[in-house]
Symmetry: C2
Subunit: 239 residues, 2 copies
Amino acid sequence: MEAYKNSSRILVALDCIIFGFDGETLKLLLIKRNFEPEFGKWSLMGGFVEENEDLQDAATRILFTLTGLQNNYLEQLHTFGAVNRDPVERTISVGYYSLVNIADQDPNTLRAHNASWIELKRVPKLIFDHDDMVDLALKRLRYKAALYPIGFELLPEKFTIPQLQKLYEAIYDVQLDRRNFRRKILATDLLLETGEKDLTSVTKKGQLYSLNLEKYPDYQKYLNGFYAFLPELAAFVPA
Amino acid sequence: MEAYKNSSRILVALDCIIFGFDGETLKLLLIKRNFEPEFGKWSLMGGFVEENEDLQDAATRILFTLTGLQNNYLEQLHTFGAVNRDPVERTISVGYYSLVNIADQDPNTLRAHNASWIELKRVPKLIFDHDDMVDLALKRLRYKAALYPIGFELLPEKFTIPQLQKLYEAIYDVQLDRRNFRRKILATDLLLETGEKDLTSVTKKGQLYSLNLEKYPDYQKYLNGFYAFLPELAAFVPA
Protein backbone atom coordinates (compact mmCIF):
# COMPACT_ATOMS: atom_id res chain seq x y z
CA MET A 1 0.00 0.00 0.00
CA GLU A 2 3.10 2.22 0.02
CA ALA A 3 2.23 3.52 -3.43
CA TYR A 4 -1.07 4.93 -2.17
CA LYS A 5 0.58 6.67 0.77
CA ASN A 6 3.35 8.22 -1.29
CA SER A 7 1.28 9.44 -4.23
CA SER A 8 -0.02 12.95 -4.91
CA ARG A 9 -3.67 13.84 -4.70
CA ILE A 10 -4.68 16.09 -7.56
CA LEU A 11 -7.59 18.48 -8.16
CA VAL A 12 -10.03 16.93 -10.64
CA ALA A 13 -12.29 19.29 -12.55
CA LEU A 14 -15.01 18.57 -15.05
CA ASP A 15 -15.78 20.84 -18.00
CA CYS A 16 -18.92 20.65 -20.16
CA ILE A 17 -18.89 21.39 -23.87
CA ILE A 18 -22.59 22.10 -24.50
CA PHE A 19 -23.83 22.22 -28.08
CA GLY A 20 -27.18 23.66 -29.03
CA PHE A 21 -29.07 24.26 -32.28
CA ASP A 22 -31.53 27.10 -32.84
CA GLY A 23 -32.85 25.95 -36.20
CA GLU A 24 -30.17 27.81 -38.14
CA THR A 25 -26.73 27.51 -36.59
CA LEU A 26 -24.82 25.36 -34.16
CA LYS A 27 -24.09 27.15 -30.89
CA LEU A 28 -22.02 26.66 -27.79
CA LEU A 29 -23.08 27.53 -24.26
CA LEU A 30 -20.36 29.66 -22.68
CA ILE A 31 -20.04 31.73 -19.55
CA LYS A 32 -18.46 35.12 -19.11
CA ARG A 33 -16.66 34.58 -15.86
CA ASN A 34 -17.59 36.88 -12.97
CA PHE A 35 -15.18 35.04 -10.69
CA GLU A 36 -11.44 34.34 -10.47
CA PRO A 37 -9.24 33.11 -12.05
CA GLU A 38 -9.55 34.72 -15.48
CA PHE A 39 -12.31 37.12 -14.35
CA GLY A 40 -14.15 38.66 -17.32
CA LYS A 41 -12.99 36.03 -19.83
CA TRP A 42 -15.06 33.41 -21.62
CA SER A 43 -14.96 29.75 -20.64
CA LEU A 44 -16.84 26.50 -20.65
CA MET A 45 -19.01 25.70 -17.66
CA GLY A 46 -17.17 23.50 -15.20
CA GLY A 47 -16.56 22.63 -11.60
CA PHE A 48 -14.56 20.37 -9.34
CA VAL A 49 -15.44 16.72 -8.86
CA GLU A 50 -16.56 16.14 -5.28
CA GLU A 51 -15.04 13.47 -3.11
CA ASN A 52 -18.16 11.29 -3.08
CA GLU A 53 -19.37 11.89 -6.59
CA ASP A 54 -19.09 9.69 -9.68
CA LEU A 55 -17.84 11.47 -12.80
CA GLN A 56 -21.10 11.07 -14.69
CA ASP A 57 -22.99 12.46 -11.67
CA ALA A 58 -20.69 15.46 -11.53
CA ALA A 59 -21.31 16.12 -15.23
CA THR A 60 -25.07 15.84 -14.73
CA ARG A 61 -24.90 18.21 -11.76
CA ILE A 62 -22.89 20.84 -13.63
CA LEU A 63 -25.14 20.64 -16.69
CA PHE A 64 -28.28 20.92 -14.56
CA THR A 65 -26.89 23.86 -12.59
CA LEU A 66 -26.27 25.80 -15.77
CA THR A 67 -29.26 24.86 -17.90
CA GLY A 68 -31.92 23.57 -15.53
CA LEU A 69 -32.07 20.53 -17.84
CA GLN A 70 -31.76 16.85 -17.00
CA ASN A 71 -31.65 13.73 -19.17
CA ASN A 72 -29.74 15.41 -21.93
CA TYR A 73 -27.29 13.58 -24.16
CA LEU A 74 -24.07 13.64 -22.16
CA GLU A 75 -20.94 11.72 -23.03
CA GLN A 76 -17.41 11.68 -21.71
CA LEU A 77 -15.04 13.14 -24.29
CA HIS A 78 -11.45 13.08 -23.08
CA THR A 79 -9.41 13.88 -19.99
CA PHE A 80 -7.06 16.83 -20.26
CA GLY A 81 -4.02 16.50 -18.05
CA ALA A 82 -1.19 18.80 -19.12
CA VAL A 83 0.73 19.80 -15.98
CA ASN A 84 0.34 23.55 -16.43
CA ARG A 85 -3.10 23.74 -18.01
CA ASP A 86 -4.51 25.55 -14.97
CA PRO A 87 -2.24 28.37 -13.71
CA VAL A 88 -3.65 28.29 -10.15
CA GLU A 89 -2.89 24.67 -9.32
CA ARG A 90 -2.35 21.39 -11.13
CA THR A 91 -5.83 20.34 -12.17
CA ILE A 92 -6.83 17.44 -14.37
CA SER A 93 -10.07 18.08 -16.25
CA VAL A 94 -12.47 15.47 -17.54
CA GLY A 95 -14.36 16.88 -20.53
CA TYR A 96 -17.98 15.89 -21.20
CA TYR A 97 -19.97 17.06 -24.18
CA SER A 98 -23.68 17.50 -24.26
CA LEU A 99 -26.39 18.14 -26.85
CA VAL A 100 -29.22 20.44 -25.90
CA ASN A 101 -32.29 21.73 -27.69
CA ILE A 102 -31.92 25.48 -27.12
CA ALA A 103 -35.68 26.00 -26.99
CA ASP A 104 -36.00 23.63 -24.02
CA GLN A 105 -33.77 25.49 -21.72
CA ASP A 106 -34.43 28.00 -18.99
CA PRO A 107 -33.25 31.56 -19.81
CA ASN A 108 -33.32 32.56 -16.13
CA THR A 109 -30.83 29.88 -15.15
CA LEU A 110 -28.58 31.03 -17.96
CA ARG A 111 -28.73 34.65 -16.85
CA ALA A 112 -27.95 33.67 -13.26
CA HIS A 113 -24.67 32.15 -14.50
CA ASN A 114 -23.82 34.91 -16.93
CA ALA A 115 -24.08 32.33 -19.71
CA SER A 116 -24.84 32.84 -23.41
CA TRP A 117 -25.34 30.76 -26.51
CA ILE A 118 -22.59 31.77 -28.92
CA GLU A 119 -22.56 30.77 -32.57
CA LEU A 120 -19.80 28.19 -33.03
CA LYS A 121 -18.15 30.22 -35.77
CA ARG A 122 -18.01 33.28 -33.50
CA VAL A 123 -16.71 31.70 -30.33
CA PRO A 124 -14.12 34.02 -28.71
CA LYS A 125 -10.77 32.82 -27.36
CA LEU A 126 -11.51 30.72 -24.27
CA ILE A 127 -9.42 30.32 -21.11
CA PHE A 128 -6.91 27.53 -20.37
CA ASP A 129 -7.17 24.65 -22.89
CA HIS A 130 -10.91 25.12 -23.43
CA ASP A 131 -10.36 25.84 -27.15
CA ASP A 132 -8.83 22.37 -27.51
CA MET A 133 -11.77 20.88 -25.68
CA VAL A 134 -14.21 22.52 -28.09
CA ASP A 135 -12.20 21.38 -31.14
CA LEU A 136 -12.16 17.80 -29.92
CA ALA A 137 -15.85 17.85 -29.01
CA LEU A 138 -16.77 19.12 -32.47
CA LYS A 139 -14.75 16.31 -34.06
CA ARG A 140 -16.50 13.77 -31.85
CA LEU A 141 -19.92 15.23 -32.62
CA ARG A 142 -19.18 15.05 -36.34
CA TYR A 143 -18.06 11.46 -36.18
CA LYS A 144 -20.93 10.39 -33.93
CA ALA A 145 -23.61 12.14 -35.96
CA ALA A 146 -22.37 10.37 -39.11
CA LEU A 147 -22.78 6.95 -37.52
CA TYR A 148 -25.53 7.40 -34.95
CA PRO A 149 -28.74 9.39 -35.02
CA ILE A 150 -27.62 11.65 -32.15
CA GLY A 151 -28.23 14.83 -34.11
CA PHE A 152 -31.93 14.47 -33.23
CA GLU A 153 -31.05 15.42 -29.65
CA LEU A 154 -30.56 18.96 -30.91
CA LEU A 155 -34.01 19.23 -32.49
CA PRO A 156 -37.48 19.67 -31.05
CA GLU A 157 -39.48 16.45 -30.80
CA LYS A 158 -41.27 17.21 -34.08
CA PHE A 159 -39.31 18.63 -36.96
CA THR A 160 -39.42 19.04 -40.71
CA ILE A 161 -36.94 17.45 -43.09
CA PRO A 162 -35.56 20.89 -44.07
CA GLN A 163 -34.92 21.56 -40.35
CA LEU A 164 -33.09 18.25 -40.06
CA GLN A 165 -31.05 19.10 -43.16
CA LYS A 166 -30.12 22.47 -41.69
CA LEU A 167 -28.95 20.69 -38.57
CA TYR A 168 -26.63 18.37 -40.51
CA GLU A 169 -25.41 21.29 -42.59
CA ALA A 170 -24.59 23.17 -39.39
CA ILE A 171 -22.79 20.21 -37.80
CA TYR A 172 -20.63 19.54 -40.86
CA ASP A 173 -20.42 23.08 -42.16
CA VAL A 174 -21.46 21.90 -45.63
CA GLN A 175 -24.27 22.41 -48.11
CA LEU A 176 -26.23 19.24 -48.86
CA ASP A 177 -28.38 18.54 -51.87
CA ARG A 178 -32.02 18.89 -50.83
CA ARG A 179 -33.47 15.99 -52.82
CA ASN A 180 -30.66 13.55 -52.03
CA PHE A 181 -30.89 14.34 -48.35
CA ARG A 182 -34.64 13.83 -48.32
CA ARG A 183 -34.42 10.53 -50.18
CA LYS A 184 -31.61 9.12 -48.02
CA ILE A 185 -32.99 10.14 -44.68
CA LEU A 186 -36.41 8.70 -45.55
CA ALA A 187 -34.72 5.48 -46.68
CA THR A 188 -33.25 4.97 -43.19
CA ASP A 189 -36.80 4.40 -41.89
CA LEU A 190 -35.85 6.44 -38.82
CA LEU A 191 -38.49 9.11 -39.35
CA LEU A 192 -42.13 8.77 -38.41
CA GLU A 193 -44.82 10.90 -40.08
CA THR A 194 -46.76 12.72 -37.40
CA GLY A 195 -49.51 13.80 -39.79
CA GLU A 196 -49.02 17.36 -38.55
CA LYS A 197 -47.69 20.36 -40.42
CA ASP A 198 -45.29 23.04 -39.32
CA LEU A 199 -47.55 26.11 -39.39
CA THR A 200 -44.55 28.43 -39.30
CA SER A 201 -43.15 26.96 -42.52
CA VAL A 202 -43.20 29.39 -45.41
CA THR A 203 -42.97 26.68 -48.08
CA LYS A 204 -46.11 24.89 -46.87
CA LYS A 205 -44.16 21.67 -47.27
CA GLY A 206 -43.65 21.58 -43.53
CA GLN A 207 -44.69 17.99 -42.85
CA LEU A 208 -43.60 17.26 -39.28
CA TYR A 209 -41.73 14.08 -38.44
CA SER A 210 -40.54 12.55 -35.21
CA LEU A 211 -37.77 10.09 -34.57
CA ASN A 212 -39.01 6.50 -34.89
CA LEU A 213 -38.12 5.33 -31.40
CA GLU A 214 -38.95 1.75 -32.30
CA LYS A 215 -36.29 1.76 -34.99
CA TYR A 216 -33.81 3.67 -32.91
CA PRO A 217 -32.69 0.75 -30.71
CA ASP A 218 -32.24 -1.54 -33.76
CA TYR A 219 -30.23 1.12 -35.41
CA GLN A 220 -28.06 1.47 -32.30
CA LYS A 221 -27.62 -2.26 -32.14
CA TYR A 222 -26.74 -2.42 -35.78
CA LEU A 223 -24.20 0.32 -35.44
CA ASN A 224 -22.67 -1.03 -32.26
CA GLY A 225 -22.06 -4.15 -34.28
CA PHE A 226 -20.90 -2.35 -37.40
CA TYR A 227 -17.40 -3.69 -37.12
CA ALA A 228 -18.87 -7.04 -38.16
CA PHE A 229 -19.34 -5.33 -41.53
CA LEU A 230 -15.66 -4.64 -41.80
CA PRO A 231 -15.25 -6.03 -45.32
CA GLU A 232 -18.01 -3.79 -46.65
CA LEU A 233 -16.67 -0.81 -44.75
CA ALA A 234 -13.20 -1.42 -46.14
CA ALA A 235 -14.65 -1.61 -49.63
CA PHE A 236 -16.32 1.72 -49.07
CA VAL A 237 -13.05 3.45 -48.37
CA PRO A 238 -11.42 4.59 -51.61
CA ALA A 239 -7.73 3.88 -52.11
CA MET B 1 -10.37 31.17 -5.81
CA GLU B 2 -12.49 29.79 -2.95
CA ALA B 3 -13.51 26.82 -5.08
CA TYR B 4 -9.86 25.72 -5.38
CA LYS B 5 -9.28 25.95 -1.64
CA ASN B 6 -12.42 24.06 -0.70
CA SER B 7 -12.19 21.22 -3.20
CA SER B 8 -10.93 17.68 -2.64
CA ARG B 9 -7.68 16.44 -4.09
CA ILE B 10 -8.10 12.92 -5.45
CA LEU B 11 -5.68 10.11 -6.32
CA VAL B 12 -5.37 9.79 -10.09
CA ALA B 13 -4.20 6.45 -11.47
CA LEU B 14 -3.52 5.38 -15.00
CA ASP B 15 -4.16 1.86 -16.27
CA CYS B 16 -2.86 0.43 -19.55
CA ILE B 17 -4.84 -2.03 -21.63
CA ILE B 18 -2.07 -3.56 -23.76
CA PHE B 19 -3.06 -5.65 -26.79
CA GLY B 20 -0.64 -7.94 -28.58
CA PHE B 21 -0.84 -10.37 -31.49
CA ASP B 22 1.32 -13.48 -31.84
CA GLY B 23 0.32 -14.42 -35.38
CA GLU B 24 -2.66 -16.47 -34.25
CA THR B 25 -4.64 -14.88 -31.44
CA LEU B 26 -5.16 -11.52 -29.82
CA LYS B 27 -3.62 -11.30 -26.35
CA LEU B 28 -3.64 -8.99 -23.39
CA LEU B 29 -0.66 -8.17 -21.19
CA LEU B 30 -1.61 -8.76 -17.57
CA ILE B 31 0.23 -8.92 -14.29
CA LYS B 32 -0.24 -11.32 -11.45
CA ARG B 33 0.02 -8.97 -8.51
CA ASN B 34 2.77 -9.64 -6.01
CA PHE B 35 1.80 -6.53 -4.04
CA GLU B 36 -1.21 -5.20 -2.15
CA PRO B 37 -4.08 -4.58 -2.56
CA GLU B 38 -5.47 -7.70 -4.23
CA PHE B 39 -2.22 -9.65 -3.85
CA GLY B 40 -2.17 -12.76 -6.06
CA LYS B 41 -4.93 -11.55 -8.39
CA TRP B 42 -4.68 -10.54 -12.04
CA SER B 43 -4.82 -6.92 -13.13
CA LEU B 44 -3.86 -4.47 -15.80
CA MET B 45 -0.56 -2.67 -15.45
CA GLY B 46 -1.03 0.72 -13.86
CA GLY B 47 0.36 3.36 -11.57
CA PHE B 48 -0.39 6.74 -10.06
CA VAL B 49 0.00 9.95 -12.04
CA GLU B 50 2.81 12.02 -10.57
CA GLU B 51 2.36 15.63 -9.60
CA ASN B 52 4.54 16.97 -12.40
CA GLU B 53 3.67 14.53 -15.12
CA ASP B 54 1.34 14.92 -18.10
CA LEU B 55 -1.13 12.07 -18.61
CA GLN B 56 0.40 10.94 -21.89
CA ASP B 57 3.85 10.93 -20.24
CA ALA B 58 2.56 8.81 -17.38
CA ALA B 59 1.10 6.31 -19.86
CA THR B 60 4.38 6.18 -21.77
CA ARG B 61 6.31 5.64 -18.53
CA ILE B 62 4.07 2.81 -17.35
CA LEU B 63 4.14 1.09 -20.74
CA PHE B 64 7.91 1.40 -20.93
CA THR B 65 8.39 0.09 -17.40
CA LEU B 66 6.44 -3.04 -18.20
CA THR B 67 7.50 -3.78 -21.77
CA GLY B 68 10.78 -1.97 -22.33
CA LEU B 69 9.10 -0.52 -25.42
CA GLN B 70 8.72 3.08 -26.52
CA ASN B 71 6.89 4.68 -29.44
CA ASN B 72 4.06 2.20 -29.39
CA TYR B 73 0.53 3.07 -30.39
CA LEU B 74 -0.95 4.54 -27.24
CA GLU B 75 -4.31 6.28 -27.01
CA GLN B 76 -6.45 7.56 -24.20
CA LEU B 77 -9.57 5.43 -23.85
CA HIS B 78 -11.81 6.69 -21.05
CA THR B 79 -11.62 7.88 -17.47
CA PHE B 80 -13.17 5.61 -14.86
CA GLY B 81 -14.46 7.49 -11.87
CA ALA B 82 -16.98 5.46 -9.85
CA VAL B 83 -16.61 6.48 -6.20
CA ASN B 84 -15.91 2.99 -4.85
CA ARG B 85 -13.96 1.49 -7.73
CA ASP B 86 -10.81 1.21 -5.61
CA PRO B 87 -11.48 -0.19 -2.11
CA VAL B 88 -8.37 1.39 -0.58
CA GLU B 89 -9.12 5.02 -1.39
CA ARG B 90 -11.12 7.03 -3.92
CA THR B 91 -9.05 6.83 -7.07
CA ILE B 92 -9.96 8.04 -10.53
CA SER B 93 -8.27 6.03 -13.26
CA VAL B 94 -7.47 7.22 -16.77
CA GLY B 95 -7.40 4.22 -19.11
CA TYR B 96 -4.99 4.13 -22.06
CA TYR B 97 -4.87 1.33 -24.59
CA SER B 98 -1.81 0.28 -26.50
CA LEU B 99 -0.97 -2.01 -29.43
CA VAL B 100 2.25 -3.96 -29.24
CA ASN B 101 3.94 -6.46 -31.53
CA ILE B 102 4.59 -9.31 -29.08
CA ALA B 103 7.80 -10.34 -30.84
CA ASP B 104 9.33 -6.90 -30.21
CA GLN B 105 9.12 -6.99 -26.51
CA ASP B 106 11.60 -7.89 -23.81
CA PRO B 107 10.77 -11.13 -21.94
CA ASN B 108 13.05 -10.19 -19.03
CA THR B 109 11.15 -6.98 -18.32
CA LEU B 110 7.94 -8.99 -18.36
CA ARG B 111 9.29 -11.53 -15.91
CA ALA B 112 10.52 -8.82 -13.57
CA HIS B 113 6.90 -7.57 -13.31
CA ASN B 114 5.26 -10.98 -13.09
CA ALA B 115 3.53 -10.19 -16.37
CA SER B 116 2.16 -12.58 -18.99
CA TRP B 117 0.45 -12.42 -22.36
CA ILE B 118 -2.96 -14.02 -21.93
CA GLU B 119 -5.20 -14.95 -24.83
CA LEU B 120 -8.12 -12.53 -24.85
CA LYS B 121 -10.66 -15.34 -24.74
CA ARG B 122 -9.01 -16.79 -21.65
CA VAL B 123 -8.52 -13.67 -19.58
CA PRO B 124 -9.32 -14.40 -15.92
CA LYS B 125 -11.48 -12.15 -13.74
CA LEU B 126 -9.52 -8.95 -13.13
CA ILE B 127 -9.48 -6.70 -10.08
CA PHE B 128 -11.58 -3.55 -9.56
CA ASP B 129 -13.25 -2.39 -12.79
CA HIS B 130 -10.46 -3.66 -15.03
CA ASP B 131 -12.85 -6.02 -16.84
CA ASP B 132 -14.89 -3.00 -17.94
CA MET B 133 -11.70 -1.30 -19.10
CA VAL B 134 -10.82 -4.31 -21.25
CA ASP B 135 -14.34 -4.50 -22.73
CA LEU B 136 -14.30 -0.85 -23.67
CA ALA B 137 -10.77 -1.06 -25.09
CA LEU B 138 -11.76 -3.99 -27.30
CA LYS B 139 -14.76 -2.04 -28.61
CA ARG B 140 -12.51 0.92 -29.36
CA LEU B 141 -9.92 -1.29 -31.07
CA ARG B 142 -12.65 -2.84 -33.24
CA TYR B 143 -14.06 0.48 -34.27
CA LYS B 144 -10.65 2.03 -34.90
CA ALA B 145 -9.33 -0.92 -36.90
CA ALA B 146 -12.40 -0.75 -39.17
CA LEU B 147 -11.76 2.88 -40.04
CA TYR B 148 -8.00 3.30 -39.65
CA PRO B 149 -5.10 1.00 -40.52
CA ILE B 150 -4.02 0.71 -36.89
CA GLY B 151 -4.10 -3.09 -36.94
CA PHE B 152 -0.67 -2.95 -38.60
CA GLU B 153 0.79 -1.85 -35.26
CA LEU B 154 0.28 -5.40 -34.06
CA LEU B 155 2.22 -7.00 -36.92
CA PRO B 156 5.91 -7.25 -37.69
CA GLU B 157 7.14 -4.72 -40.24
CA LYS B 158 6.89 -7.31 -43.03
CA PHE B 159 3.91 -9.62 -43.15
CA THR B 160 1.95 -11.84 -45.49
CA ILE B 161 -1.67 -11.26 -46.47
CA PRO B 162 -2.76 -14.43 -44.62
CA GLN B 163 -1.09 -13.05 -41.47
CA LEU B 164 -2.95 -9.78 -41.91
CA GLN B 165 -6.20 -11.69 -42.40
CA LYS B 166 -5.56 -13.67 -39.21
CA LEU B 167 -5.05 -10.42 -37.37
CA TYR B 168 -8.40 -9.01 -38.53
CA GLU B 169 -10.09 -12.31 -37.75
CA ALA B 170 -8.62 -12.19 -34.24
CA ILE B 171 -9.67 -8.58 -33.65
CA TYR B 172 -13.27 -9.16 -34.80
CA ASP B 173 -13.58 -12.78 -33.78
CA VAL B 174 -14.88 -13.68 -37.25
CA GLN B 175 -13.92 -15.83 -40.22
CA LEU B 176 -13.26 -13.83 -43.37
CA ASP B 177 -13.33 -15.11 -46.93
CA ARG B 178 -9.74 -15.50 -48.12
CA ARG B 179 -10.19 -14.26 -51.69
CA ASN B 180 -12.44 -11.33 -50.78
CA PHE B 181 -10.03 -10.21 -48.08
CA ARG B 182 -7.06 -10.38 -50.44
CA ARG B 183 -8.87 -8.45 -53.16
CA LYS B 184 -10.18 -5.72 -50.85
CA ILE B 185 -6.99 -5.16 -48.91
CA LEU B 186 -4.94 -4.94 -52.14
CA ALA B 187 -7.50 -2.48 -53.51
CA THR B 188 -6.80 -0.08 -50.63
CA ASP B 189 -3.29 0.47 -52.04
CA LEU B 190 -1.99 0.43 -48.47
CA LEU B 191 0.31 -2.56 -49.00
CA LEU B 192 3.72 -2.41 -50.57
CA GLU B 193 5.32 -5.51 -52.12
CA THR B 194 8.72 -6.06 -50.55
CA GLY B 195 9.76 -8.66 -53.14
CA GLU B 196 10.66 -10.99 -50.28
CA LYS B 197 9.01 -14.25 -49.30
CA ASP B 198 8.14 -15.58 -45.90
CA LEU B 199 10.44 -18.60 -45.68
CA THR B 200 8.46 -20.04 -42.78
CA SER B 201 5.25 -20.13 -44.85
CA VAL B 202 4.04 -23.64 -45.59
CA THR B 203 1.91 -22.61 -48.55
CA LYS B 204 4.84 -21.04 -50.43
CA LYS B 205 2.50 -18.16 -51.18
CA GLY B 206 4.17 -16.13 -48.48
CA GLN B 207 4.81 -12.92 -50.38
CA LEU B 208 5.84 -10.34 -47.77
CA TYR B 209 4.26 -6.89 -47.73
CA SER B 210 4.86 -3.79 -45.69
CA LEU B 211 2.58 -0.88 -44.94
CA ASN B 212 2.78 1.80 -47.61
CA LEU B 213 3.84 4.69 -45.40
CA GLU B 214 3.38 7.17 -48.24
CA LYS B 215 -0.28 6.24 -48.53
CA TYR B 216 -0.81 6.09 -44.80
CA PRO B 217 -0.98 9.87 -44.19
CA ASP B 218 -3.43 10.33 -47.11
CA TYR B 219 -5.56 7.60 -45.70
CA GLN B 220 -5.50 9.23 -42.28
CA LYS B 221 -6.39 12.56 -43.81
CA TYR B 222 -9.18 11.03 -45.80
CA LEU B 223 -10.61 9.34 -42.77
CA ASN B 224 -10.26 12.34 -40.50
CA GLY B 225 -12.42 14.07 -43.04
CA PHE B 226 -14.82 11.19 -43.56
CA TYR B 227 -17.70 13.12 -42.07
CA ALA B 228 -17.66 15.17 -45.25
CA PHE B 229 -18.90 11.97 -46.89
CA LEU B 230 -21.92 11.86 -44.65
CA PRO B 231 -24.47 11.39 -47.44
CA GLU B 232 -22.63 8.34 -48.76
CA LEU B 233 -22.15 6.97 -45.25
CA ALA B 234 -25.84 7.39 -44.53
CA ALA B 235 -26.67 5.57 -47.74
CA PHE B 236 -24.41 2.74 -46.68
CA VAL B 237 -26.35 2.13 -43.50
CA PRO B 238 -29.29 -0.17 -44.17
CA ALA B 239 -32.68 0.77 -42.78
